[in-house]
Structures are given as structure tokens and as C-alpha cells.
Amino acid sequence: MGDFRMPSLGADMTEGTLLEWLVHPGDVVHRGDIIAVVDTSKSAIDVEVFEEGRVVELLVQPGTTVPVGAPLARLDGVGVATDEGGRGPQPEATPKPKPKPKPKPEETLTPAPSPVPPAKEAARRAPAAQQHRDGSHIAASPFARRRAQELGVDLSTVVGHGGVISVADVEAAAGSGPSEAPPESVPPAQPPSAPAASDHAAAMRQAIGALMARSKREIPHYYLQTTIDMSAALDWLSGLNAERTVAERVLPAALLLKAVAVSARGMPDMNGFFVDGNFRPQDHVHVGVAVSLRGGGLIAPALHDADLASLDDLMPRMKDLVQRARSGRLRSSEMSDPTLTVTNLGEQGAELVHGVIYPPQVSLVGFGRIVERPIAVQGMLAVRPLLVATLAADHRVSDGHRGGLFLAAIDAALQSPENLQGGTS
């Protein structure tokens, strides 16, 4: 028997809103299954389970905000795994007293297939209560769905007019029916609504501000920079891309990520977490990719084992990650376990960035824009594409000498780009 708890999806997260259950009581779950969707102040995250077992009961209703660590569901498990022990720290977990168990209305809905095969993932991402008891689709306006979630109304209990549920129907149902009242087991005194878009942007800005202030307060940063001649890398890439369709081309950003990941493998003091006064180096290299969001804000989900992936594997994964980060569909493991972060300003960016480390990580590699500049090469003046790479690292863990070696390793890796192409897994 074990609890499935509100996960920490980043060091800045103190609470989360359960948006949706993707499992029902009785379902068998496997490690890695996505079983719930949680809204943080940054985005909606698909949350994976790290245990094998059967869902006994769901303790929290969609729409409820609970602190990190609060039990969300009870699992009857064989061999309860040690939470996300290997997957990043779990700070500030303040478990709530276990709510009184009580069956929820939705538990009586259609018996869910168990377990849900991965191919059903897209379907499971649809908002809650998409179906009537008989399995037919519920026609409700997008605004009605949003209000239903805010008010805790189960759409399958709402009668629409003309076959479609509008917001008036939802509000009428919320105002009348006893079945729509929030069940007792919901932890009290939390706003029941997911934040609206504008609140969301403000909350995200607040979260970024708090985390970055903490980083600057606690982490004694030191900064290094080096200028990398990108001729070899770009020449090699254009040779590679010349034979490819546009969709298959590899961008410099992917090459840079791979170079960092491969270099980090040999630099344990750059790759890990500083928690409770101790540094915990990590065996895997999960590179956090800083993604700026269209409405403003920033998120840095992980590309897992980037050092082991081939470029042809990394490139689509990077694109997918960026796309999902922007559409707000990231997985819990991607949010919680980057072991170091790369920020790449890209073609539109400035030439140099001094990054702020993302706690509890201990290093951040920054890349500016690649620019053509005159440079002395073997005593002659030449024009070469140059890239300024920077490192912000944690003085509690390493010194400038080690940081310099790290940057030098990245530089060296980029001088032999062909060695970065393959994978090793």
C-alpha cells in the first residue's frame, strides 16, 4: 500500500492543482504511466507514477490545489518504489493529514480500461468528463468546460440545451444539484479553480522571480566564458544537412546540447544537485533546455540521457520538447530532474549570456548568437563564425579551474563534430 503524492515538479513548486485523473479506482498502473495532469504555476504537466500497483482510491478531486507531498491517491502496490529518489530532490514536501476516504461521483463512471496502453495517450489528454456513462461524447462549449472545472461540476451530470452544454447550463447545475457539491474528502481552504490565463502569467513570473532570487541568494555563482570557433561544426552540419530534407535537418542547437551533455559526463561536479548542504552528483546527464514561452516566461524541461542519444534522436526530441513546453504538456519527470541546464539564445539573441543557475542544479551553460568575426588563425587574419559559450557554476561544488576544463571540453567536442553524431545507448 502506498500513496501517490503531489510531486515536486521543480524546486520552485510548493503546491499544484490536480486538473484531471487519467485512471480510475481499480486500474492497474505501471511505472512510467501517466496517471494524472497537474497544473503548476508554469504549465499543465502529465504526471507519471513510479510504482507498480492498483489504484485503490482517488483522494483529491480535479480542481483542487494541494501542497507538494500531499497524497493524491492510494495505491495497492507490490514493491513500492522509493518515490522519485533517483529523479531529483523533493524539497518542502509538507504532507497533509490524510483526508477521510469517500467515494467520488466519477468513480461510478465507465469502467476504465486497465491498464491503458500507451497508444491511448492522446485520447487520455482530453479534458475530464469527455464521455457520458454510455461512452458517448459530451458536447460542451470550451468555456463551459472551463467553468465546470472551476466550479467542480461533473459535466456528465449536466443537461445541455439543444444537445450542447453551455456555460449557463454549468452554472445552473453548480447552483442547484447536491451531486455537484465538492465531496468532503477534498482538502479545504484551497482555491478550487485552476488559475486563469492572466493569473497564470503573473503566477509564473512570481515563481521565476522567487526561484531566481533564491538562486542568487544561496548559490555563490562564478562565471567563465570562452569563444568557440564554430567553423568545423557548421561546415560539418551543412555537409550533413545538404543531403537531407528540411524536416530532417539538424540544427546547431542540437549539436551544442550534445556537446554539453557529452562533456558533462566527465564532469561530475557540474552535473548534479546541491541539496541540504551536500552535493549529489548524478550518473545520468539530463540536460535542461531553457525554453522561452510565447506569452512570456521561461521553462527548462529535461532531455533525458542527452549524452547517450544520437543527433538524429536528439533533434526531434528537442523539437518535441520545445513544442510541448509551449503548449503546456510536459511530463513530471521532465520537469523535476534536469541535472544541468543549457540556455541557447539562438539566432535572434545577444552574443553572450551570463545565466542564473536553476536550483538545486550546480551549473548552467549559456550560448550566445553565432556571429562572423575577424580572428587570428595561425598568424593570419581570418573571418570565422564565433560563439561565446559561458558557464555559471556553483562555488560550493567546484572552482574556476574545473569550470574552465568543462568549457574546454565543450569546445573540443565541437571541433570534432562527427564524434557527436552517434548514440551510445
Binding site: 462549449s141 468555456f143 472551463r146
Partner: protein, 333 residues
């Protein structure tokens, strides 16, 4: 002591003429060119009297060659003048589409920013006056499709007067669509008359239950429909887009996010037109605020008919707007 009146009441036709007159008086680089704009006073009487005031140098009758005189306008603009080119109807403008799309809209881009084309093209658009299919179409969407152009659609006397001066200030080509049914409409021009922006949509009537989004000749229709809806207890907000490229999404989305329902009213054909673009943007940007599908009222997909009853049947009407609004708020199946 004389007291200046706050507003002057005049027709849309007179307002446009006063706008041209005002611009020509203030800037001698401004001149008017087009078919019958001089001696005849303009196909719709807009330029009546201007030849007498400004002379043949500045009010120029052209041959029946849209491609030729629009091209001449582009050349004059490149040479430092501020031409106003009148094309009698948007249907005829297709003869000059090569000049407008391939030259005026692209020169800045293709010259790396070295040459801009400060040209203003005015053209009549729209149906409703039994001028048949070759003089009645609403092709605003054709032009609003083209990067490099700014496209505006005045619907009021104030905009009929004031948009022209601002368009002449624009360093790039601006196309002004004047709906033919507006010319005789009277309205109030605040005094002293002044240029107006060509960037933003305007809420012409506030409301809470749904947003009617329209422009140009369909604005009156929507305001009338909003009156009828109000009598029925439905509060409709009416937005006049004013500028069709670039669209002022912010004003539209702010309204729809509040009313949760939108109906787009446009005299162009429904397929692949202005109404399609606006509806798509509302769906993209306001999806989670929508409580009903985005509705559209557009012209029936036929060449605009000549017989009066068929022409009226092909065009958006108050009844169709009211029906679409009622569907959106759930009063009709």
C-alpha cells in the same frame, strides 16, 4: 462672438471629398488621379469641384487603364509625390493587381528597404445598388491577404474624412475601401475635423451577450441588428474592425473573452475571406472563452445578381445577423 459647432453633419461622400481637399491644401505633393475624377467629378461624385479648385495638374483624368495609372501612381510615389489613386470599383482593380501586389507591396522588401511606396489607393467596394456582378463585389480579403499593404475600411463619416490624411502619412501603400452604399449616408463629423488612426478597431456599441465583428458597409446593418436584439433582451457588442490589415486582434479578443460568443459579419464571400480569417483568429486565441461556435454572416457564394430581390437575398441582412446572434446565444436551434 461666434460659437463653433461641435459637429458638422454631412454625407460620407462629402466627408471623403473634404478629406481629399484638406490633404491637398496642406501638402502640395498630394494629387488625385483616376478615371473620370476631374471633369466628371468622379464615378460616385466624390471629387466633384476639386478640378476647379486645384487644376488639371493635381486632379488628373486618366485613360481606362488601371494597370497604367496605378503604375504611374507608384512611380510618382517613388519620385517623392503623395498620390491618391482612385479606382472606380474593386472589380476593376484586378487589372492593376500586378502593380499593387508585385510592385507596390513588394518594392520595399525587394530593395532591401531602399525604396518605399507612399501610395494611397481608394476604391469603391460592395453591392446593394443593382450594378451587377462586375461592379458589386467585396474583395477586401484579396488585398488584406497581401503583406506589404495596409488595408482600411472606413464605415463612418469621421473615418471617411480622417483615415485619408493618416494613410498619406504612411510610408507604405495603403488601400482604402469605400463601400458604395455609404456615400449618401449622413453622419456627424466632430469639429475641428482631424486625422484618425488606422491601427485600431473600435467598439461602436457596448454589449455583454455576444460580439458582432464587422467593418465598412456592414456596420450599419450590425448596429440595426443590435437594436433589434436589445429589444429581445440580447445585449450585442458591435466592433468595427476599421483596419483589415493588420487586424487589431487585441480589441476583438478582449471583447469576445468577455461576451464568450462571436458572430463575424462581412459582405465578402464566406469561403477563404475576411470572415474566415477573423473567425479563425477568434477560435485560435479565444477558444477556451467560447461558449458557442463562432458564427458568420457573409454573402451567398454567387456572382452578385442584378435583379433587386436576388441581390438582396445574396447579401448579409439585418435578419440574418439577428438569426446568427440568436443561434449564438442559444435562442434558436
Amino acid at each position: 462672438m461666434t460659437v463653433m459647432p461641435d459637429v458638422q453633419v454631412l454625407s460620407f461622400r462629402d466627408a471623403v471629398r473634404e478629406g481629399i481637399r484638406d490633404a491637398m491644401r496642406r501638402d502640395e505633393r498630394v494629387f488625385l488621379m483616376g478615371e473620370d475624377v476631374g471633369r466628371y467629378g468622379g464615378g460616385f461624385g466624390v471629387s466633384l469641384g476639386l478640378l476647379e479648385e486645384f487644376g488639371e495638374e493635381r486632379v488628373r483624368d486618366t485613360p481606362l487603364s488601371e494597370s497604367g495609372f496605378v503604375g504611374a501612381g507608384i512611380g510618382a510615389a517613388l519620385g517623392g509625390m503623395r498620390p491618391i489613386v482612385e479606382i472606380m470599383t474593386v472589380n476593376f482593380s484586378l487589372l492593376a493587381l500586378d502593380q499593387i501586389l508585385n510592385t507596390a507591396a513588394t518594392l520595399r522588401h525587394m530593395s532591401g528597404g531602399q525604396f518605399n511606396v507612399p501610395l494611397v489607393i481608394r476604391m469603391t467596394t460592395g453591392a446593394g445598388r443593382q450594378l451587377a456582378a462586375q461592379h458589386s463585389h467585396s474583395l477586401e480579403g484579396f488585398y488584406a491577404h497581401i503583406p506589404g499593404l495596409r488595408v482600411v475600411s472606413p464605415a463612418t463619416v469621421e473615418d471617411g474624412f480622417g483615415m485619408l490624411a493618416t494613410a498619406l502619412e504612411d510610408p507604405d501603400p495603403v488601400v482604402i475601401f469605400e463601400h458604395g452604399s455609404l456615400y449618401n449616408e449622413k453622419g456627424e463629423l466632430p469639429q475641428p475635423a482631424a486625422p484618425v488612426d488606422i491601427d485600431f478597431a473600435r467598439v461602436r456599441r457596448g454589449g455583454d451577450d455576444l460580439t458582432l465583428i464587422t467593418h465598412g458597409g456592414s456596420l450599419r446593418l450590425c448596429l440595426t441588428a443590435a437594436d433589434q436584439l436589445a429589444a429581445d433582451g440580447i445585449s450585442a457588442e458591435v466592433i468595427d474592425l476599421r483596419t483589415l490589415r493588420p487586424l487589431d486582434d487585441q480589441t476583438v479578443m478582449a471583447s469576445v473573452a468577455r461576451t464568450h460568443r462571436a458572430v463575424v459579419v462581412d459582405e465578402g464571400w464566406r469561403s477563404v475571406g475576411m470572415s474566415a480569417e477573423v473567425a479563425a483568429r477568434v477560435a485560435e486565441e479565444c477558444f477556451y472563452d467560447l461558449d458557442a461556435p463562432v458564427g458568420r454572416v457573409a454573402s451567398v457564394e454567387v456572382p452578385i445578381p442584378y435583379p433587386r430581390h436576388l441581390e438582396q437575398a445574396a447579401l448579409p441582412s439585418v435578419e440574418r445577423v439577428v438569426a446568427a446572434a440568436e443561434r449564438a446565444v442559444g435562442r434558436r436551434g
